[in-house]
Amino acid sequence: MSNPRLTREQIAARAALELPDGACVNLGWGIPNLTAAYVPTGRRAYFHSENGILGMGPRAKSGEEDFDLVDAMKVPVTLVPGASFFSQVDAHVMTRGGHLDVCILGGLQVSEKGDLANWRVPGAKGAGGIGGAMDISVGAQRLIVTMEHNAKDGSAKVVKQCTYPLTAIECVSTIITDLALIDVTPQGLLLREVAPGFSPEEVQAATEAKLSWSGKIPEMLV
């Protein structure tokens, strides 16, 4: 494994390719949030925030911030034409009701059934916090999880069964990591793409859950 794994930006850029033109999209903290910068030319994505915005544009320029116009991470943002404001209740009618086309969240663990754990490390100090992740995970038409393939201690994050507190069960459609793009299917985890320079066997070796693949696996476009 001498090739470098993908950067966080490269993971985000690969995730952005999954957004169909015109899609309404919610992005979680971390790598997911980077995705907004990589929407392919010629496509438009409308970003949703659970505090009541559909149609967020880029971060506000310094000196032009309006602190009543912030995203779910408290960052001052802008609007694109066609944007609207609504209540937090209605924002979650959109998430939980299945009205968003794609949601992208970070992950601590994803199981082979598509269970997601992303809100709390067991034994961590403090109260933790759920935020909107559970509503988003349950309701997303398509939930993509972007994360590093392995934790800092090298342990697998794509696992047989999550050991961390769950966010939602059987909710993940696709996992995009610094090593691979993996679909969650009724038959289990299907390896669709590998990071440039990595073999399916190398990805499997870094993964606790069993991956299946057949034929030549293309490299992730980054």
């Binding site: 015109g22 609007l79 066609g82 609207s84 009618v93 959109m94 939980r96 009205h99």
Partner: protein, 226 residues
């Protein structure tokens, strides 16, 4: 859905793929906010065996009346079929049509639940009445309640005042009524509007139905049944 595909040129085109046997929500109340032009197009198309959800069941030939007249409707969920629902009443009396009567606020709430991803809720409305028949009853926090299920449909036909080309909607006065909630509860929501404006022309604070709930837009004017 890609935004550029939402604007449809004619009401006939807007309903061209509606299949027999489908379910449709119809907005409107008290003569205001009915998608009358879409209903007329559906009458022309002749789609049969419909299951409709609508506060009323038509006013003479107007509103959903024409669909009853043409025998296009098999069953209805309604709060108040109404004294003007002549064709519905005839067919109901003749046993030709199924009816589920629902309290008006519960009709609203069941559609909202569908749109909001809430499969069911407990309500005190209808406890001890005919409406409770066949429904699970229990006591919650000392209050008798019955179980109500979410209610959605394959299509929603709604009426708004102005749309932008993305499908953001604003309504006019009491013509708002059932339309916003139905936009959330139809798998495919088709809106007729009096006017379409460019994206960005509607005030983001004043948009009542964000475009995420709207699939097709058609401009159509002038049909009202008083």
């Amino acid at each position: 859905m890609a935004h550029k595909d939402k604007l449809v040129l004619t009401t006939d085109a807007a309903v061209a793929d509606i299949p027999d046997g489908t379910s449709i929500l119809f907005g409107g109340f008290g003569g205001a906010g009915f998608p009358n032009n879409l209903i007329q197009a559906l009458a022309r198309r002749g789609t049969k065996n419909l299951k409709i959800i609508s506060n009323n069941c038509g006013t003479g030939d107007g509103e959903a009346g024409i669909l009853f007249k043409n025998r296009q409707i098999r069953s209805v969920i309604s709060a108040f079929p109404g004294p003007g629902a002549k064709y519905f009443q005839e067919q109901y009396d003749a046993g030709l049509i199924e009816l589920e009567l629902v309290p008006q606020g519960i009709l609203c709430e069941r559609m909202r639940a569908f749109g909001a991803g809430i499969p069911a809720f407990y309500s005190p409305v209808g406890v001890g009445t005919e409406v409770a028949r066949g429904k699970e009853e229990r006591v919650i926090e000392g209050k008798r309640v019955i179980l109500e299920k979410a209610l959605g449909a394959d299509y929603a036909f709604i009426k708004a005042h102005i749309a932008d080309k993305l499908g953001n909607l604003v309504y006019r006065k009491a013509a708002r009524n059932f339309n916003p909630v139905m936009a959330t509860a139809g798998k495919t929501t088709i809106v007729e509007v009096e006017k379409v404006v460019e994206v960005g022309e509607l005030d983001p604070e004043a948009i009542v139905t964000p475009f995420v709930f709207v699939d097709r837009i058609v401009v159509a004017k002038g049909l009202r049944y008083v």
